[in-house]
């Protein structure tokens, strides 16, 4: 008789252990699927993937920043309305030129033309991705949702600073906002 037949209990026990271990691995991988969400966000913020910027106000110390007057950086602004969003939404100026370290101030105008109260959320995105972490938004309407009453028009300020460490070859940045209707979420 073989080993296997001598100790059927041992075999059964070790098989059960294998099964339990495998189930644990499977559960772990299920959890890992969800863990990919925060991992991905951290990854994006580190690498600037998708031009995703930190959702919280960035604590860039404007006071400490030295203005680098030798460089001129063009910052373009573009606005997109996601389908279903019918506000008027556009930057007051399509482009500003700033020195790194020097704050740039501009406004975006949003208008709710409907007869209902609506809530909007602007999602920022920066290109080139490489520059994402060097474009600081000191003040932005995208930090929170924006609520507009029926027919209301709102001028929303945006204050940006381009980091003086911005890689030398980058001379133009694009800051894009896509406006989403999030009324149904609140």
């Amino acid at each position: 008789m073989s080993e296997r037949m001598d100790k059927p209990q041992t075999v059964e026990r070790s098989a059960r252990q294998t099964v339990i271990r495998s189930i644990l691995v499977a559960c772990g991988m299920f959890a890992f699927g969800f863990a990919m969400v925060p991992l991905y966000n951290v990854f994006c913020q580190v690498t600037g993937l998708n031009g995703k910027t930190d959702p919280d106000p960035y604590l860039y110390k404007a006071a400490e920043a030295k203005v680098d007057t030798s460089r001129n950086i063009k910052v373009q602004f573009v606005a997109t309305k996601n389908s279903g969003m019918i506000w008027d939404f556009s930057p007051s100026t399509p482009q500003v030129t700033v020195h790194p370290g020097e704050p740039g101030l501009l406004t975006f105008v949003a208008k709710n033309p409907t007869d209902k109260r609506m809530i909007g959320q602007a999602i920022p995105s920066v290109t080139p991705f490489e520059a994402t972490n060097y474009l600081h938004k000191v003040e932005c309407f995208c930090f929170t949702t924006q609520t507009l009453e029926a027919g209301e028009e709102k001028v929303m300020p945006l204050r940006i600073i381009v980091d003086q460490d911005l890689p030398k070859h980058i001379k133009k940045l694009t800051l894009s906002y896509t406006l989403f209707d999030v009324t149904h979420m609140y």
């Binding site: 296997r4 098989a15 499977a26 699927g33 990919m36 994006c44």
Partner: protein, 533 residues
């Protein structure tokens, strides 16, 4: 099956047969815990799904026969492409391999059954219900899933049809079924090997399945996570994949392909094992490098986890990421090359005969290699900007999946059919089946390389005139390939019902424990473990 007791085996098997023969009637199949019964059910289920998914492919090819809309509306066409993909992946190929594993792995390692027979029954019986649920979505208001088998958000979430919820549940069920199947296979291989059957003595089919099973338990839960997130986005107001709520649609693609790339290897690794059994058998020669085959399989499995973003080269990944995924993907060519070289060297200076299993295996090596070459081309990120989402990609993955997975399953079926049924199949008809499949498959998919390079995007029901001629040829090839499969069904039924009696080892050069039991294999085998030298 009644011939079993009359066959030549020893008395103890006969005694077992008397005590533990299959129950009678329908309940035999519902309640069975026998690995052979469950294996057969898996195989029949997968064949039914293969015909269902194939019928959808016929609709696709009929619509694409000429430019313009002739047969179906674009909305339905999208449901067909989506369902064809889902059914073929989750309904046809994966269950077929699990079926083969169920039948053969216990017999190959000298085990009496799978380690967890009741779980085995469950993992099969979930499948038909999941498949019915998935197919029923086609009849629901708004139609079935129409967002491609990759179901990218937000097309599948905010813009998906109402039936998406049922699609998600059926994916959950299919996932649970394959995870249970995989766990069972791991437990069987690790614990039930006959004495003397060391890991490095296991047949390659067992090895490749062990690695596949690990891939399955690693990635199917991730897919379950992805569809769960979709479900939450659709019904519970979360924003995993909705940019407006702070989520990211690209995240979906990362999670999906983290599952998806190992998934495509799940559909090919068992084929490697099958072909590595068949080629030596018909070349009457040992496999050239068993050890290197094991290592190559393991490295392919490892690499499959770090290449997923090559499906997303155009999505806007930073340069450094793009380079990493390009290099990692190119590396896969090395272990894959090792495998191909090994098969060719095994054939070299052998003493070959070309029965149906060998024909399918030879075609596997040639055509899979062609698919591998186009895969290598696709891995070159800058060139992928031109190839991505065109018919070139469709040609590529059908070249690795049809000859890769399907031909290997055909080969395995012919190779082991005498063992399952106790009869030899009709060799002439099988050769016809091979040649018609071979011609049909190449006629269908080779021209797709051309239209893809010339600029035809995939997943379109209607196309510009310059693609018309090759699409016509593809459709004709598709109809040929499709109809030929009824011949396969006929051959199988004919072989089950009768035919020349098969000896215990019908193939001169075949090796392995499965050939030491009589044909057809008794209901219970290796209740007393064999001695492996």
């Amino acid at each position: 099956m009644s011939t079993v007791t009359d066959s030549v085996e020893g008395t103890d098997v006969k005694a077992h047969e008397d005590h533990h023969g299959p129950a009678k009637g329908l309940m035999r199949w519902v309640l069975t815990t026998n690995h052979k019964d469950i294996g057969s059910m898996y195989l029949w289920f997968s064949f039914a799904m293969f015909l269902t998914g194939g019928a959808m492919a016929m609709i696709i090819r009929a619509e694409l026969f000429q430019p313009g809309l002739q047969i179906v509306e674009p909305a339905f066409f999208n449901q067909m492409t989506t369902m064809h993909g889902l059914i073929m992946v989750f309904g046809a190929v994966m269950p077929a391999f699990v079926g083969l594993a169920n039948w053969m792995i216990p017999m190959m390692i000298g085990a009496p059954d799978m380690a967890m027979p009741r779980m085995n029954n469950w993992s099969f019986w979930i499948l038909p219900f999941a498949a019915v649920m998935l197919l029923s979505t086609l009849f629901m208001e708004g139609g079935g899933p129409n967002f491609g088998w990759t179901f990218y958000a937000p097309l599948s979430t905010d813009y998906g049809p109402p039936s998406t919820t049922f699609f998600i549940f059926s994916i959950h069920m299919l996932g649970i079924s394959s995870i249970m199947g995989a766990i069972n296979i791991i437990a069987t291989i690790l614990n039930l090997r006959a004495p003397g059957m060391t890991m490095m003595k296991m047949p390659l089919f067992v090895w490749t399945w062990l690695i596949t099973a690990y891939l399955l338990i690693a990635v199917m839960p991730v897919l379950a996570g992805a569809v769960t997130m979709m479900l939450m986005d659709i019904h519970f107001g979360t924003s995993f994949f909705n940019a407006g709520g702070g989520g990211d649609p690209v995240l979906f693609q990362h999670i999906f392909w983290f599952f998806g790339h190992p998934e495509v290897y799940i559909m090919i690794l068992p084929s490697f094992g099958i072909v590595s059994a068949i080629i030596p058998a018909f070349a009457r020669k040992h496999l050239f490098g068993y050890t290197s085959m094991v290592y190559a399989t393991a490295s392919i499995a490892f690499l499959s986890f770090i290449v997923w973003a090559h499906h997303m080269f155009t999505v806007g990944i930073p340069l450094i990421g793009e380079l990493f995924f390009m290099y990692a993907t190119m590396l896969i060519a090395v272990p894959t090359g090792v495998k191909v070289f090994n098969w060719v060297t095994t054939m070299f200076r052998g003493s070959m005969t070309f029965e149906a299993p060998m024909l399918f295996s030879t075609a596997f090596v040639v055509l899979f290699t062609i698919g591998g070459f186009s895969g290598l081309m696709l891995s070159i990120a800058p060139a992928d900007f031109q190839y991505h989402d065109t018919y070139f990609v469709v040609a590529h993955f059908h070249y690795v999946l049809v000859p890769g997975a399907i031909f290997a399953i055909f080969a395995a079926t012919y190779y082991w059919l005498p063992k399952w049924t106790g009869h030899m199949y009709d060799e002439t008809l099988a050769k016809v089946h091979f040649w018609m499949s071979f011609i049909g498959m190449n006629l269908t998919f080779f021209p797709m390389h051309f239209v893809g390079l010339a600029g035809m995007p995939r997943r379109i029901p209607d196309y510009a005139l310059q693609f018309a001629n090759f699409n016509e040829i593809s459709s004709i090839g598709g109809f040929l390939f499709g109809t030929t499969q009824f011949l396969f069904l006929f051959i199988i039924i004919k072989c089950i019902r009768g035919g020349e009696k098969a000896p215990a080892k019908p193939w001169e050069g075949a090796e392995g424990l499965e050939w030491s039991v009589p044909s057809p294999a008794p209901y219970h085998t290796f209740t007393t473990p064999p001695d492996v030298k």
